[in-house]
Symmetry: C2
Subunit: 344 residues, 2 copies
């Protein structure tokens, strides 16, 4: 096997596409010279940008796509009507073996629906989930689902626990990741029915899975567990709330340093350390959520990402491929996934 | 009317009760000398602490309570079996006109259930909601529900919008607060059925209400709207996620300042500005959520609050009473609440 890693890009997806996508790919190529790209999108939009990025041009092949999946398109409509869209053709490239991974900053619901139709789920998984690392006091925690499944039953949540476990083992290299179920309290009777039933099943025990129990919103930042499982509605809100407050802290910090002459002097001395802190918490560093549970590597970038953020999402796809994540997650699921005990 | 404000305290509620509650009351009394307290709890636990707090003792009356509502008690069981509990007797004191407000750091579900049974909801409101201010880029935003109602239908969400509007008008003094509905995206088809139906009804227009539309998790910190409406599950997770990341940010900031000699020197200069920043974001400052929609003022403190945090929760009750919040919210709801248009 060649050590080239081929990434199919949905060049037309994202608020600042196609420029942001292509510039992001160019940045990623500097970091990982073994990358090759399949660029799915409007040829007449791609070619002028590529002309200015000769290294990227040399590492890329274009697949012309007439259509774009609109940001507000319904997933079902995108699946039916979007067969010639840049998103679909990028996913097709993975299904046809022309690329190892797909990265898109386009419509999340459409990406999930299309990827599920084209790439199928791993045996034992009903619905794929969106998973991402978040910074915590103890390192990083995997949070899933982040919005792929707005309504979830207990089966989905138990499957997310299995996928999160496999993800943390494969990517973080943890031997026994701990799993928590996000809830509004730690007592048995708290939460909705889906959460309570999933809790009972996870507590009853699933071979190889280390279930910690219920966790709450503040356990995300404190890193209480390695994997936090929740439905896509709450997970999406938790992720974006964390991002929003991350941004707000830096605003407040900036205004604190501007608030007095002494503080301004202090800033001059502390600047290098503060820059490192900013990098550590930069949401762009954590851009790139994986759609887990599919037979292919599908990475979703923030729709509003800039080129640097998109390059990081490509980096996530690169790491997943080079760590052999897909084989590992399938193995884990085969061992862990069957049989899932019924509700107690 | 005397200008005294009488607060009934559930002295036995909270992780560090009763000491934390009594010390918190003592701190609040220094800030607001017009406060008087009704202390509901075990007399033999209260008296020794009061003996060391003579000013608080002089401003307080004890109502002996034999029972405590356990942190893991089911709300229905607490209502039935907790008639002699400190929480219940504190609520009863408000119902009987012996106190103006009740403050508890105890079991949230039990507090809501008991308060609803004893104090009843304002006409037009099915279920009370928990509301609190959070710091934002533009000032403060009211978020509700924060966990009182884990599962909500469109009716509940529309009522929360009305209550949040009245809360922001009465307490923030805003003339036309803007209202947003928390969702996983801003497009019409996003979210679950309850959210979509509530959106359609709010968009159709309710007299006096300024509906902005869907907002996302990062709109909390950016202060996009004055009031953010959501179900108690997501709201609780959003609140605690924000608190958790607030704490993490200061941990990271501390370690950044310790990371080099230059940074340490910078810290010496910037310290006063950073202390102000810490105060601005201190979650204890925002401790004290109000149960809105009831005929009495009920404030819930964090269960894990310390005395300073509990004093702030008492401060919230004080402010609500001194601003005549209850009369204002009833007036607002009378004007705004009827008729609520049906779904379109």
């Amino acid at each position: 096997m060649s050590k080239d890693i081929i990434i199919a890009l949905d060049v037309m997806g994202g608020d600042k596409a196609p420029d942001m996508v292509l510039k992001g790919a160019d940045i990623a190529l500097v970091r990982y010279p073994e990358l090759r790209f399949v660029l799915a999108g409007a040829e007449d939009r791609i070619s002028p940008v590529l002309a200015k990025l000769p290294k990227l041009k040399a590492a890329s092949a274009i697949i012309h796509a007439e259509d774009v999946v609109a940001g507000n398109a319904k997933p079902s409509a995108a699946v039916r009507g979007g067969r010639r869209s840049s998103m679909r053709l990028a996913i097709d490239a993975v299904a046809e073996g022309k690329a190892h991974c797909v990265v898109s900053a386009g419509n999340t619901g459409a990406l999930m629906a299309m990827a599920k139709v084209v790439l199928k789920t791993v045996p034992g998984i009903d619905r794929p989930a969106m998973a991402q690392f978040l910074p915590t006091s103890r390192g990083e925690t995997v949070l899933l689902d982040l919005g792929a499944n707005v309504e979830c039953d207990a089966d989905n949540l138990v499957q997310f626990a299995l996928m999160g476990d496999a993800f943390a083992r494969a990517v973080l290299g943890l031997v026994k990741p701990t799993i928590g179920l996000l809830n509004v309290g730690s007592e048995e009777q708290k939460g909705n029915e889906a959460v309570r039933e999933a809790h009972a099943r996870l507590r009853a025990g699933i071979p190889g899975l280390v279930y910690h129990g219920f966790v709450e919103g503040d356990d995300i930042a404190s890193g209480t567990v390695d994997v936090i499982v929740t439905d896509g509605f709450s997970g999406n809100i938790a992720l974006k709330t964390a991002e929003g407050y991350g941004k707000l802290f830096f605003e407040f910090l900036q205004s604190a340093f501007r608030s007095s002459l002494l503080a301004q002097i202090g800033y001059v001395f502390a600047r290098p350390a503060l820059m490192k802190l900013r990098d550590r918490l930069d949401p762009r560093r954590h851009n790139g959520a994986m759609l887990v549970g599919l037979t292919g590597i599908v990475v979703k970038s923030h729709g509003g990402a800039d080129a640097m953020g998109f390059a990081n999402a490509i980096g996530v796809a690169h790491d997943l491929r080079s760590n052999g994540f897909l084989d590992r997650i399938k193995e884990e699921l085969a061992v862990l996934g069957a049989p899932v005990p019924a509700a107690v």
